[in-house]
Amino acid sequence: MTDQAYNFAYLDEDTKRMIRRAILKAIAIPGYQVPFASREMPMPYGWGTGGVQVTAATLVPEDVLKVIDQGADDTTNAVSIRKFFQRTAGVATTERTRDATVIQTRHRIPETPLTEDQILVYQVPIPEPMRFLEPRETETRRIHALADYGLMQVRLYEDIARHGEIATSYAYPVEVAGRYVMDPSPIPKFDNPKLDDCPAIQLFGAGREQRIHAVPPYTRIRSLDFEDHPFIASKADHACALCGSRKSYLDEVITDDAGGRMFVCSDTDFCAENAKGDA
């Protein structure tokens, strides 16, 4: 039931227009971080205020919304954001990836391949891939402007020097369309290949940092690496304990305090479908 006290999808129309302009600009310049006037949302920073604003600006009444948090539809963050849009926009919601038209996600890309009719909205905590290497925003902007990305390579070098391999396992930096280096939000690097040549529109919203960036459909995305240490999309070397899939990304769940553990699909929708034999 839509709450009549709010405009459709919570934000007022002028705000949505401002965000849509930022989104259009972001799509026009793949991987470029577009500043936008992020609004105060009724949830704490870090809970997806950026993603929620992008979703709000994207939704139309006919949309079917799916919200996932670490791949799951039933965790706090996913449930509360889904309820938020049920109440303020009255849109239909689903847990099935293939039925959704807009998917807001935190830290995962669904296992089910996306289509041209879908928009994937990411919640982004830190959009700047060089934040912890170069603290000055003026300097990182200049690095982006001049495509002067030696510093990113230093980060990967440090990984190999310290761990013997590129140990960055999430938020793995990518090059978008041969130009901008982008932080794909904290998705596992297992998901990086799914960014590449994806038919869906991918939008990234960072609320606290006030940035939106985007990957248009069918864009070339290359994960940065070294010639002698190539990028590997790694996952736990197990099968899912629930559905038996060997190709989906797994969460490790500790089951007791005696070292017992199980590996299950992080994508709950994929796991359920696969268990039924539909996937």
Binding site: D148, G150, V154, Y157, E158, I160, A161, D225, E227
Partner: protein, 285 residues
């Protein structure tokens, strides 16, 4: 030495706008590596440096001395592209395109120049190093910035360079924080020289180090400058440093060059009143 001959033709007390040798002898290189013409930088109504001109020839080390506030660092900033002078030309003989005015270069090209043909050694190694990145990463950054993408080869040249600046290569994965001040300064030098630059800007490279460490660093610098055929512009207020390293010397006061010439001539027979004061101020042990 050919350069010395070229320099002997230089007028001892050249006017600030004409400190360049009139003609180089036949055996000298045809063009100077760096030709500076009338560089002026104002800070509002105050003079940073005014009408500084000189030529720097390949393999030559030019010392710039003067008291604090005399415009040494401003001049160095203007030459190395960190500051934008209000007037003048800084013509550098690039390895790719020949002589170009670096002040008119587009920023990407200037940045490329700054990490291929040029090097900048800061007084405080913290300004020139990434303190949160390992020694190997610091040395390798220039290589990666110019397109090196092979980890093994980057690491090998980092190890090689640590050895050349007398840092134990087993410390390649330590961060600069864990190094002593002298080691940090040597690491900064390795990080700068790894790309084989032709011109090094040094801003008080021995400042803040104790004398025995200074002596070793100077030894090292002298060796590297000679082995690699580097040209250098060396800013310092320490006359002993220029005596050891610099072929030629410029004395600055109030943003202007008051005296220029061969290092030994200037230091042993100072002409300008300020230079005389400077030389006589050195404490004798």
């Amino acid at each position: 030495m050919a350069l010395t001959e070229a320099l002997e033709e230089t007028a001892r007390h050249a006017a600030p706008d004409d400190a360049a040798p009139d003609a180089a002898p036949d055996q000298a290189p045809a063009t100077p590596l760096l030709r500076v013409k009338g560089v002026t930088k104002m800070y509002g109504g105050r003079i940073g440096c005014a009408a500084v001109s000189f030529d720097l020839w390949p393999g030559e080390v030019l010392g710039i001395v003067g008291e604090s506030g005399s415009g040494k660092s401003t001049l160095l900033g203007c030459l190395s592209g960190q500051l934008r002078p209000d007037a003048g030309e800084v013509i550098f003989d690039t390895s790719a395109q020949g002589p170009v005015d670096t002040l008119k270069l587009a920023e990407p090209q200037r940045r490329l120049l700054a990490r291929t043909d040029w090097a900048f050694v800061h007084q405080n190694p913290r300004d020139g190093l990434r303190m949160g990145v390992s020694a190997g990463g610091n040395v390798g950054e220039r290589l990666m910035a110019t397109g090196a993408r092979h980890y093994g080869r980057i690491r090998a040249s980092a190890e090689d360079w640590l050895g050349r600046v007398e840092i134990d290569p087993t410390r390649i994965d330590d961060r600069p924080r864990q190094f002593s001040g002298g080691m940090q300064q040597r690491l900064q030098i390795a990080r700068n020289l790894v790309s084989g630059p032709r011109l090094v800007f040094m801003d008080e490279p021995t400042g803040g180090l104790d004398v025995s460490v200074q002596a070793r660093l100077l030894d090292l610098l002298r060796g590297l400058v000679r082995d690699m055929g580097l040209s250098a512009v060396l800013v310092t207020h320490d006359l002993a440093v220029v005596r050891l390293l610099a072929d030629r010397l410029m004395v600055m006061k109030g943003g202007r060059v008051v005296e220029a010439g061969l290092t030994d001539q200037v230091l042993d027979d100072p002409q300008h009143a300020y230079t005389q004061l400077l030389v006589s101020s050195v404490l004798q042990v």
